[in-house]
Amino acid sequence: MKEYIPEYVGSVTKYVFVDSPDTTPQDLAIAAYEVAMGVMIKETCFGIQVTGSPDEVSRIIDALRKLDPYHIFVKDRGFPPGDQRRCRANLGGARPGYLGHEYEIGLARFISYGLRETDTMNDNDLLKAAVPIRRASPLDIDDLSTIIETEEA
């Protein structure tokens, strides 16, 4: 066991994901560099990562969101980019957490559509649209056994 001296203390890292027909991660990176002051920006296949002081990162995120408001998604990241404990360059294979992102970015088209549709709704329309999503209940075990018995007969 050795002493642990953390890096980037006091900084925050945010992921900026983009799933858009018009905006690419490169567009995001260029736009971020245009307004950035003293932050670290890393372009990735899905968007960018921004690391810096909380105020500066927040300012850049606000600017980036305006590029394509319905198709840009932002979340916090605990580790800074390139951290040896998480970076796939050191670990090999997909980075831990990547599968979660892959799953959720598959839902982005529904969320983007929802954001666009609800953007102009007033409070009453929102309440009407906010219907609970019901999934079909699983097949009842008795029904299943009936089907099996019918097939066997």
Binding site: E3, Y8, V74, D76, H101, I111, L126, I133
Partner: protein, 149 residues
């Protein structure tokens, strides 16, 4: 601005929507960041030290496995700070090992015990469900008040 706990705690969409509508999402990244930015002794990969299962005793009983208590030391401070919560049920990517599964169950139990406003949802699978999903979150967050767009 209301502190809204999100479940799954690593959710990109929930984190984005809560922040987008002017509130503060409480996800696991915040706790992980605290852990890895605190000096101490090297304990990779998440800087969870032997002290953490002891801290977890605040949220889980002593007979609960140390894996769950260790995880609760990550989620517990967020749980305490939460003023509201959004829970997405049956999230496929939240599937994990037994330690994660039991921690998730405990987390949802503790959230429901807390008597804070909670929104229960499932992930959308169509465009219409996408509208319902966003509208539910937007109206829930508006009712909490204090947000800004």
């Amino acid at each position: 601005m209301v502190k809204v706990f999100i479940y799954p705690a690593t959710s990109l969409m929930l984190s984005d929507l809560v922040a987008r509508f002017g509130h503060e999402p409480l996800g696991s990244a915040l706790s992980i960041r605290d852990h890895i930015q605190t000096p101490g002794f090297d304990s990779p990969p998440l800087q969870i030290t032997p002290e953490d299962p002891k801290k977890g005793l605040r949220w889980a009983a002593v007979e609960v496995p140390s894996g769950v208590r260790g995880r609760m030391s990550v989620y517990g401070p967020l749980l305490d700070a939460a003023e509201a919560a959004i829970i997405v049920n049956d999230a496929e990517f939240a599937f994990g090992c037994m330690g994660c599964a039991r921690t998730n169950e405990l987390l949802i139990f503790r959230l429901k015990q807390k008597e804070i406003p909670i929104l229960d949802l499932v992930y959308p699978k169509t465009q219409d469900e996408g509208v319902a999903f966003v509208a539910s979150i937007k109206s829930f967050l508006k009712e909490l008040g204090g947000g800004e767009e």
